[in-house]
């Protein structure tokens, strides 16, 4: 009996270090390894963010030189408010340049279009020689804000050509949010550059600035 207990004691003493090591491995495996793996994943994620930010910063620095000009051009081509007045002014200037008589110009109420685009219809009458009327219609595509011709009714008489024209111009709200700082941005694609190039050739509207009146000032505007 005494011999048996001595054997057990020896076996326990010999096996204890092995058992302790196994338990330690299990503890470290359960808590230490996941912690290190999580840390590695955080490092990878931070490195990706760092890469995105570096690319974004480089692109921003490259594009920042002329993006303000581009923004002005596209905002003029597609403004954020109803462009009826600007378009009417452009159509009148165009009529003067093309030697046609423009009359009966009117603008209808604006409607909401698709994809965030709003539309305003403008109709008018043109009188002149046929080549000038055709030239006028072709030039409409070259004005800013962007205007498309929807309906044309041309009547020809011995006196010349008379045309009832219906055009549509557009506007859309400006974007209200910018992407998150870590969100990447991309350079302009060749198609984007082509559209930008086309838009930059549009004839910009010119407005006459009316200075504030410098007439008599009423010293007592609320008086009797």
């Amino acid at each position: 009996m005494k011999n048996l207990s001595e054997n057990v004691r020896r076996a326990v003493f010999a096996g204890a270090p092995l058992l302790i090591v196994i338990v330690l491995f299990m503890i470290v495996g359960k808590f230490g390894v996941p912690k290190v793996l999580e840390l590695r994943s955080q490092v990878k994620s931070a490195q990706k963010t760092e890469e995105k930010l570096t690319q974004k910063l480089n692109l921003l620095q490259t594009l920042s030189s002329d993006v303000a000009l581009k923004a002005n051009i596209v905002s003029s081509a597609l403004p954020d408010t109803n462009p009826a007045l600007a378009v009417m002014s452009q159509l009148k200037n165009l009529a003067l340049n093309q030697g046609v008589v423009l009359s009966e110009m009117r603008s209808s109420s604006a409607t909401g279009g698709t994809g965030g685009l709003n539309e305003v219809s403008i109709s008018f009458k043109l009188d002149g020689a046929r080549p000038q009327v055709n030239s006028y219609l072709a030039e409409i595509t070259k004005i800013a804000p962007i205007t498309t011709v929807r309906k044309i009714t041309i009547s020809e008489t011995a006196g010349g050509t008379s045309a009832d024209i219906g055009v549509v111009s557009y506007w859309a709200d400006f974007p209200k949010t910018i992407p998150a700082v870590t969100e990447p941005i991309t350079d302009f694609s060749p198609e984007d550059k082509k559209i930008l190039s086309n838009v930059s050739t549009l004839i910009q509207p010119t407005f006459m600035k009316i200075p504030p009146s410098s007439g008599d000032i009423n010293p007592n505007p609320f008086g009797q």
């Binding site: 054997n7 290190v36 930010l53 905002s75 219609l137 009547s155």
Partner: protein, 177 residues
């Protein structure tokens, strides 16, 4: 011949099976402790290096973030330009009458002297034309030209009349190709 002596008391004697087990267990224990030390130290070093690396990358990210934020105005303008470009592209797909006018006008230019346009209505779907032509050959030439062209989806003669003073009067309807 060598004689094996065992001076241990009999109650301290270990049988052979247990003896080999104890040796194996002791050896495994030593190997295990060594392996654990190597593993633990390695893991610790890896943890420290990863922490240093994370701190360094995070500091760089913070620096880059502030530099990107300083360029926020440019970013806003880029977003605006891209948004406008997308919308301008969608406007280009919207209905437009000018291609239809251009298509039919090519046939009307050749009319001078042989006929005259009464009324021409053009919309994005097609065109409707009222035309006077003086002679029968003018009429057939015009109709042959316009019907054989590839510029229209369809060409149809809507009405036809003959007036002894003005000649032939026709109404033609074309649809967009």
């Amino acid at each position: 011949m060598a004689i094996k002596l065992n001076l241990l008391p009999e109650e301290h004697a270990v049988n052979n099976n247990l003896s080999s087990f104890l040796k194996t267990a002791k050896a495994l224990g030593v190997i295990g402790i060594a392996a654990f030390l190597i593993f633990g130290v390695g893991l610790g070093i890896f943890f420290i290096l990863s922490t240093i690396s994370l701190n360094s990358v995070n500091a760089n990210v913070a620096k880059l973030t502030s530099r990107v934020e300083a360029q926020q105005k440019s970013e806003q303008q880029i977003v605006l330009v891209k948004d406008r470009i997308k919308k301008v592209a969608s406007i280009q797909d919207l209905p437009n009458s000018l291609p239809n006018l251009k298509a039919i006008d090519a046939y009307l230019v050749n009319l001078s002297g042989t006929g005259s346009v009464g009324q021409l209505t053009v919309d994005p779907k097609g065109a409707n034309l009222t035309l006077s032509l003086r002679t029968y050959s003018d009429l057939t030439n015009f109709l042959e030209n316009i019907q054989s062209s590839d510029d229209f989806g369809s060409v149809s003669l809507e009405s036809f009349s003959l007036n002894s003073k003005t000649g032939y009067s026709v109404e033609i309807k074309t649809t967009k190709k």
